[in-house]
């Protein structure tokens, strides 16, 4: 599915023509009644769009507003804080080890991302740029493994990691990332396959090894796809709750933000305002990443049908 999501000019049947800036171009020959109808339709459509956007934004606004309330206000019917308690944000660091949680989350997410990229690029290369018997079957097999419910492996993996003495610890969350991720291999393969084959063939004639072709030719051309894979695996690890819940919960020093937030209530007696302030800080890196790479992100979702 490779639709262009940013078509600039769209003509929809007999309807008005919409220009890139959103203007509905009036055509001279259109009677004024028709023109009024078009204008009303334009207003109605944007009214709906604004209303729906508001519905999507209200929860975020509510979280931000609550994070700026006093603790009494947060547990009352107040919607707008009487004065903005910016100190709530520094309070979070004072009352819970938020800095430690952030560090742990970053560490796991960054090492996991490096592992995923490093271990997924070569298989994706072999599956798209080299010709061998069984290649298609292997590719479909890898896609099929994406459908496996994680529960069917997680119990035995937990037992293995416990026996290795890795629980509680970060290793069970980091080490498997270095052994190829089906979703990332799939996404990279789709992109690698779109690079013209002639380029590789020319390099092969010159005697270049497959490794050289991959590192010097394909990887530089596939930067957007690699960025998408890195983005998805970073966000996946950043947002992950189940993995840290299994492997880190018993050692408070290893908690990630996701775990800490859920345990907030136990650590601090229902300080809703601080919990919301911590939630805002938890969301910010994800949102910054999204805005800095929106195009990569949306195309990645479109290509694969899955979010990381």
């Amino acid at each position: 599915m490779t639709a262009t999501l940013d078509r600039e000019v769209v003509v929809t049947g007999s309807d008005a023509m919409t220009m890139p800036d959103g203007r509905v171009v009036p055509v001279r020959s259109v009677p004024s009644g028709e023109r009024r109808r078009r204008f009303l339709r334009f207003v109605a459509k944007h009214a709906i769009l604004i209303a729906v956007s508001a519905m999507f934004m209200v929860p975020i606004a509510f979280v931000v507003l609550t994070s700026l309330m006093t603790d009494q206000e947060a547990l009352s019917t107040t919607i707008w804080p009487s004065s903005f308690q910016w100190s709530n944000y520094s309070q979070v660091f004072a009352e819970v080890p938020f800095l430690r949680w952030t560090f742990n989350t970053f560490l796991i997410a960054i090492l996991g991302t490096i592992g995923t990229v490093v271990s997924s690029v070569p298989p994706a290369y072999a599956l798209s740029r080299m010709r061998w018997k069984g290649r298609t079957v292997t590719f479909w097999f890898i896609i099929a493994t994406m459908m496996l419910p994680f529960q069917v492996t997680v119990i035995s993996l937990y037992i293995i990691f416990v026996r290795l003495g890795w629980v509680p610890g970060m290793l069970p969350l980091i080490v498997p990332a270095f052994f190829g991720d089906a979703f990332s291999i799939f996404l990279l393969r789709q992109f690698f396959a779109s690079i013209p084959e002639e380029l590789s063939d020319a390099a092969r004639v010159d005697g270049a090894s497959e490794w050289a072709i991959m590192t010097k030719l394909v990887i530089p051309l596939a930067k957007p796809a690699i960025a998408a894979v890195a983005l998805f695996s970073f966000l996946g690890a950043w947002n992950d709750f189940f993995g840290p819940l299994l492997y880190l919960i018993e050692n408070q020093d290893l908690w990630t933000i996701a775990i800490g937030l859920n345990e907030f209530k136990g650590l601090h007696h229902v300080e809703a305002n601080l919990q919301m302030a911590a939630s805002v800080m938890f969301m910010i890196p994800a949102i910054i990443l999204f805005f800095s790479a929106q195009k990569v992100f949306i195309e990645g979702v479109t290509l694969t049908g899955v979010k990381g």
Binding site: A3, V10, V58, R131, T153, V162
Partner: protein, 318 residues
């Protein structure tokens, strides 16, 4: 570089064979991270969990073989199993259709691409980026029966007894549905791509024939996006059986696993409880294998049924 298997056998020179061997070794080397990962982190754990599913195992002693007892217990005695299956099926039957309809509607609002639409698209999509834990916590507050803004609004609108949401077993799942709709962004984007893939000429032809808006939707849009609908329903069903974080976090904020009154005990949370809180590793493995079989059935539907039931303009992976 032609496929070597197509070359007649007697013409294969030792040199070509050596070349072929070298090529296969290179392929193996490139594939090795995935092959090792598959053997160590997928295949072996799968097989050993199949073995555990026939045992009683609490992680401390040795696994004790009990034959089919775990499966028998699951289907005939474990009331929580059936409760979790019912709750999960509720999600499948109620939440997935609502999600799909909502995703189509929001995507249709965004079909006309221009600069202003891009801003709307960003706003529609943004919530799906929010970490599941943060989103769940936000909704527990948002839907708080007493001081949550949703119920305040409902009382102002004259609703006498607004729902108690996550405090009420009848309203807790609808609360999760709202949470899911808020994060519809990724599904919506897939539908948006599907809608933009519909050839414009079809609508133009329909206009010439004098078709109305509903007719165009019913006879052009709907059939053309049927593969996307099929895909998202099946992946939605598979996802429902693995639905964990939102259910776990909301429950734990309002009382504990499955709270209120077991209404948020889903298949995956039940499995977590059995395996990692009660340490019934054998029984949890049996639950996982039943889950695997259910998932396999639906996956086969994707690979086989999609060709028969839906209209494909191109193919699944273009």
């Amino acid at each position: 570089m032609t496929a070597l298997e197509s070359v007649p056998r007697r013409e294969v020179t030792p040199q070509a064979r050596r070349q072929h061997r070298k090529q296969m070794l290179t392929v193996l080397a490139f594939m090795s991270p995935w092959i090792l990962g598959f053997l160590i982190f997928t295949l072996y754990p799968m097989i050993s969990s199949l073995y555990f599913s026939f045992t009683r195992y609490d992680l401390l002693g040795k696994p004790k073989w009990v034959g089919l007892h775990n499966y028998q217990f699951m289907f005939t005695q474990d009331v929580d199993f059936w409760l979790s299956v019912r709750n999960t099926l509720w999600i499948v039957v109620v939440a997935i259709p609502i999600r799909v309809v909502f995703a189509i509607l929001t995507a249709m609002l965004l079909v006309r691409a221009n600069k202003a639409i891009k801003i709307y698209r960003t706003m529609f999509f943004l919530p799906s980026i929010a970490p599941a834990v943060a989103a769940s916590l936000a909704f527990v507050f948002l839907l708080n029966p007493v001081y949550g803004p949703v119920n305040q609004l409902l009382s102002k609108l004259g609703v006498a007894n607004p729902p108690l949401w996550f405090q009420d077993p009848n309203w807790s799942k609808p609360g999760l549905v709202l949470l899911g709709l808020w994060g519809i962004g990724d599904t919506m984007i897939i539908f948006l791509a599907g809608l933009l893939d519909v050839p414009r000429q079809l609508y133009e032809a329909a206009d010439i024939e004098g078709a109305g808006g509903w007719q165009k939707f019913r006879y052009i849009t709907l059939p053309m996006i049927s593969p996307v609908i099929f895909f998202s329903v099946i992946t939605g069903i598979i996802g429902s059986f693995q639905y964990f974080t939102e259910a776990f976090v909301t429950s734990s904020q309002v009382g504990g696993l499955g709270a209120p009154e077991g209404s948020l005990l889903f298949y995956a949370t039940h499995l977590y409880d059995q395996g990692f809180q009660s340490f019934r590793m054998g029984y949890a493995s049996a639950l996982a294998w039943v889950l695997l079989v259910v998932t396999l059935i639906f996956t086969l539907l994707i690979f086989r049924g999609s060709k028969r039931f839906v209209f494909y303009q191109g193919g699944m992976f273009r």
